[in-house]
């Protein structure tokens, strides 16, 4: 890999997929994978250090099986709530049946890390991915019915599709697009009707039936660097694939996760995890630098102001604000003093009025309806686009923390009260700290129809604010 510290998906992950027998298959386009995963997903870069949360991994399995953990899981007292790991490898995958995207990561627990490792992780974070041009549309009843084709949003057609020859009557062309598996789909793109509009006609119904799409699912188009048209899907139907339960019991799965992590931690041997961004409630493999910033650059306390990113229905992002209303262990028996979902946050009602920042590929939508904004309630880790409020509580800089790590006695004494006395003079150099992994409950400050919307998110991209 030429640029090991790059954080963008395109360079962070080797975009190859191997099946169970080790046969190399078609590679997966990283930009398309990213588009299908959603705007807030950001995989850590291979070769960097990460923090792995067994609780979060277990949560993903529970979400995939729609089943909570049972009581018969043995304790693994030697398995800490978080593991410092070296991320050896990241490969992108897509389910051949459903096109669901997921990533495979090979992690190796390490007992310590050096300054270079931390800096590499921080550098990978800062390199923002080049947002490729894409558009995403939720399919309507007309789009998916057998009665007609696909109505293309005007801006999308003009921005993504090759330009039409308007001297033709009507203007039309043949579009060729490839999906995640490199399958080719061809559509007739025509500009007709009264008033004029862009339509995909011939070939569209084959796509709809072939991918088994229904109204409410989403389809997206992007152009890669070679100006090739790619397309992907995102299913609205969030019913968990209960399929896996025919192979392994839920208990065995959870035990398998914990035992595999415990075994790897005891032997410092590599282990493999799968991260499914659209099934998992939260990322459970966090870049070391991001983890540091979340935990050590701020003094987490009750009443602290909070900012978090959500994904909107149309694949946009939206800030949301709230206040920390509680700090406690999610599972005090099994995972004591874990930072996984130890914060409760009450969300502001007023933040619904915040304007969503315009992003490329995002249709213009100025709706302030909270219900629609949060229909896609799966939370995501956000880009580091949050600005630090000058009145934020003081924290430690990256350099300060590294120095403390090299001075064990000092690090050991690093308590909230001590941290509070440190100077926050270098804070402005730090992007917002992502605390999403710590967020548990979402509480509305006002009883209204909004309660329906905010019940679902359990965690999301979050930043402390004043």
């Amino acid at each position: 890999m030429k640029s090991p510290a790059a954080g963008a998906v395109g360079t962070a992950a080797t975009a190859t997929a191997t099946n169970g027998e080790g046969v190399e298959k078609k590679s997966i386009n990283p930009e398309l994978w990213q588009a299908c995963a959603g705007p807030l997903v950001n995989l850590p870069a291979a070769g960097t250090h990460v923090v792995y949360f067994p609780q979060g991994h277990s949560e993903q399995v529970a979400a995939s099986m729609k089943k909570d953990v049972d009581a018969q899981i043995p304790n693994y007292p030697n398995l800490p709530s978080k593991l410092l790991c070296l991320l050896h490898n990241v490969t992108l995958h897509a389910d051949p049946e459903t096109d669901e995207v997921y990533a495979q990561m090979t992690l190796q627990p390490v007992s310590s890390f050096d300054k270079d490792a931390l800096l590499r992780s921080d550098l990978a974070l800062k390199s923002n991915k080049p947002q490729t041009e894409f558009f995403c549309k939720t399919l309507t009843a007309s789009d998916t019915s057998t009665h007609g084709g696909f109505s293309v949003p005007r801006r999308a057609a003009e921005k993504i599709f090759p330009p039409l020859d308007f001297s033709m009557q009507p203007p039309a062309q043949e579009l060729v697009a490839r999906d995640l598996h490199d399958n080719v789909w061809t559509f007739r793109h025509i500009y007709r009707g009264q008033p004029k509009r862009h339509l995909l006609t011939t070939g569209w119904s084959l796509f709809i039936s072939g991918k088994r799409l229904f109204a409410g699912d989403s389809v997206l188009f992007i152009r890669d660097e070679k100006q090739q048209l790619l397309l992907g899907i995102r299913r609205a139907n969030r019913q968990p694939t209960n399929l896996s339960s025919s192979v392994l019991s839920s208990d065995s799965m959870h035990i398998g996760i914990l035992a595999a992590a415990a075994h790897a931690a005891a032997n410092n041997s590599p282990f493999t995890v799968f991260y499914n961004p659209r099934a998992s409630p939260s990322e459970f493999v966090i870049p070391l630098a991001k983890y540091y910033k979340a935990v050590y650059s701020n003094q987490i306390s009750l009443g602290m102001r909070f900012r978090m990113m959500f994904e909107t229905e149309e694949s946009g992002t939206r800030r949301y604000m709230g206040t920390i209303t509680g700090i406690s262990d999610l599972d005090p028996v099994r995972w004591k003093n874990s930072q996984w979902r130890n914060l409760q946050v009450g969300w502001d009602e007023s933040t619904a009025d915040l304007k969503r920042p315009r992003q490329p590929g995002m249709p213009d939508d100025d709706s302030s309806d909270l219900d629609s904004l949060l229909k896609r309630t799966m939370p995501w880790l956000g880009d580091d686009i949050c600005m630090k409020d000058p009145q934020a509580p003081p924290g430690l800089s990256l350099v300060q923390w590294m120095n403390m790590q090299q001075n064990p006695s000092l690090a050991h004494s690093m308590q909230p009260n001590y941290m509070q006395s440190l100077s926050g003079s270098v804070l402005q150099n730090l992007p917002g700290a992502d605390l999403s992994l710590s967020v548990r409950h979402v509480i509305t400050s006002n009883a209204s129809a909004k309660q329906r919307a905010v019940k679902c998110p359990k965690a999301a991209s979050a930043s402390t604010t004043a």
Copy 2:
């Protein structure tokens, strides 16, 4: 349960399915489940004692994921190669997407058992299930094309379907059949053409497309005790559902199985397994009495004659004979002295000429073509229909063995040489001993086209013979 010792599926398993949230769903018809599972599948009865083989369980996962076990699996030195368990519960399931049948079993390791338990297990074995009337047909290209309907085998239509009114011209009726999920399918059943034949026309294409069936898949019809028509499917496409790999790594799955069993064995606490009869190479939960008969009623030795049951293409059964050519550990490092696949068997060429016993619901097929006979190479545990050969090596009777169990010093000294000296006078009371779990490699005694067919089966219902 009225008859706790019954071994038939209908009474052995509670035919209810619960989803992940504990909501009771429609019950699954046990006869239909049995028909879909195949003629050789025989689930142990709830309430009886069984022997659980972690190796076999792991094999099922490997087969489901089409991936062998990797090296990174930790050793579980305290987990024996077989666990004596009390089978608390058996529930029948069917995958809602694929109709694949599987069973969920709750096992609790026990350190000992009494005479009643052994007798109950033996009693459950002896109760033969009432073979319901059914027929099974492999779909042809014409059956699955959009050009026409389904050609019903004559005997099948006469035996299973309600009789037609032949005063009509042409004779026709509407058939209503329910699948495993209690979904209703209606077909027009007509007797027409030159020469006359039974056909399913209107409604058939909806079924084919709805179940996503292709030529080579099989469809089966049965009548339940209320004369209701039921239908099921068996897919020929044995491609493993790689879906589960998007949730959990193969390593974690294997670790999960072993760790769950080890934890349950250490605490004598219950654990849950899923048995998928059409994906698993062999059953890995064996009735205690069947295990006993396999291991203790015969002196296993090199050169011993061997008999095993296979499932034929048309859902029939077929005996196959061979000779034990080797006895050794499948995995000497991890599972020393395990009885799982420790026998190699060379199959007789001449056994291809054996007549298959006529069974209800099985179309007449006197083909002696070995290739076609063994196309369905997945092996199954068979019914106890094998007769004991008078010249068989001597073994222990059930009563003798029980007495030895109550006399530890005697049981401890129970060695092959010792057993050989015992009288075999009560042997005729014993059905053939099923050794299928121990069979590993299949070696043809003659190089020919038959080699292709016999490479695949790794184990099947087997009995020692002279």
